[in-house]
């Protein structure tokens, strides 16, 4: 699976991942502290400029944000109608700013950098934190590896069903799929055990090439 990250060299790209996450968090709080439509409008424009500065193709942006923008328009209309027009403006600008800024951070940050930021956040917790960080990384990697596997199994089952003329019964698909997934969990689990997982201690970090002679 390919991440949404869009390569580039803008200032937002160069900022450390942890700083970007904390900034987003602070922005989320700040936006709910003010009700000044002018201030919120300026923030929304700044966030939009930030997102557009990343030069992500418009089609990709629309696919990510289309549904949200539609819902936002609906929320603005509902607020304007049920509460007050100003309320609709405030709510709409607030959400638009937050969603746009968050989308910009996603497009400008490598998944690997975010994982490193999370693992760094766990490091103050000593060996337990390191172990959790290691297992978390392994689990996330396994999910990404299993997605095509599960899709393949689904297709396989659908074809087997179609060949027998019993297509279109969800229950008949879900049951064998779940059984196969649970059985392969046993098999892969055994394979991991045979290779010494789960490790009681997180393995030492990968040595870089220059360490070895």
């Amino acid at each position: 699976m390919i991440s949404l990250y869009h390569p580039g060299r803008t200032p937002l790209h160069r900022l450390p991942a942890g700083a970007k996450l904390l900034g987003l968090f602070a922005l989320g709080i700040a936006l709910f502290l003010t009700r000044d439509a002018l201030l919120l409008g300026a923030a929304a424009l700044a966030a939009l400029a930030l997102l557009l500065s990343l030069r992500v193709p418009a089609g990709l942006l629309l696919r990510q944000l289309g549904m949200t923008l539609l819902l936002l328009a609906f929320l603005v209309a509902a607020n304007a109608w049920l509460v007050a027009p100003e309320e609709g403006l405030v709510v709409g600008l607030r959400l638009l700013t937050l969603v746009t800024a968050a989308t910009a951070v996603t497009y400008a940050t490598r998944p690997g950098a975010l994982i490193a930021a999370f693992q760094g956040a766990l490091s103050p917790f000593g060996s337990r934190g390191r172990r959790l960080a290691f297992h978390l990384g392994l689990a996330l990697a396994l999910v990404l590896r299993f997605i095509p596997e599960v899709l393949y199994r689904i297709r396989e089952l659908r074809e087997a069903m179609a060949a027998r003329g019993i297509a279109g019964r969800p229950l008949r698909l879900v049951v064998p799929l779940a059984v196969r997934l649970l059985r392969s969990a046993d098999e892969v689990g055994l394979a991991l055990e045979a290779r010494g997982y789960p490790a009681a201690e997180a393995p030492p970090p990968n040595k870089t090439k220059k360490d070895s002679p």
């Binding site: 991440s3 989320g28 049920l82 405030v90 999910v143 049951v175 799929l177």
Partner: protein
């Protein structure tokens, strides 16, 4: 956590993702094709139990944060979590937990077929629908500024599809339990 759990949890997380990627199963009488990702959440809770079941959507949410397009329609990224519908996504975690907590005693006790099925259906409905909707609607009302009533009304459109998913999840869990010990 043993090595089997270390695999089963990511496997069901991958199932949740895959159910959003695959073309939706035609249900015949429903005009809108429903996304099946909450079906994966119910299955994780009912089949893996409360704690492991809740960890599967945790992994999916983490992948969303990392910026991977793991949600239906290829969506993902921090924008989803900052948006007005984030509660429905976060709700998957307690949703799977509650589904598992309610399904476990039902599966352990066993007994007549219809009683087990009814118990599982109740678990999937309360965990996979009620808990998820509660969080989703509360978040939508809070962030979106609309009242709880209006937010709930807007979510009603998804209720028929989710009820069908609860029926499928309950039936599948019962059928799987016959051939594979779940608890």
């Amino acid at each position: 956590m043993n090595s089997r759990d270390l695999v089963a949890v990511p496997l069901f997380a991958a199932l949740i993702v895959a159910l959003g990627v695959m073309p939706p199963i035609p249900l015949g009488f429903l005009p809108v094709p429903i996304t099946l990702q909450t079906l994966g959440v119910m299955l994780a809770g009912a089949m893996l139990g409360p704690w492991r079941g809740a960890l599967a959507p945790v992994l999916v949410v983490l992948l969303v944060i990392l910026g991977l397009p793991v949600l239906s329609g290829g969506r993902g990224g921090l924008g989803v979590l900052a948006g007005p519908t984030a509660g429905f996504l976060i709700g998957w975690i307690p949703g799977a937990l509650v589904t598992g907590l309610l399904a476990r005693p039902v599966l352990r006790r066993g007994g007549q077929d219809w009683r087990v099925l009814l118990g599982l259906l109740l678990a999937c409905t309360l965990g996979g629908i009620l808990v998820v909707y509660a969080l989703g609607i509360a978040w939508l009302a809070l962030v979106g500024g609309v009242g709880l009533g209006a937010a709930a009304l807007g979510s009603l459109a998804f209720l028929p599809g989710d009820l069908i998913k609860a029926v499928i999840a309950a039936g599948a869990t019962r059928a799987v339990q016959r051939v594979y010990p779940l608890v």
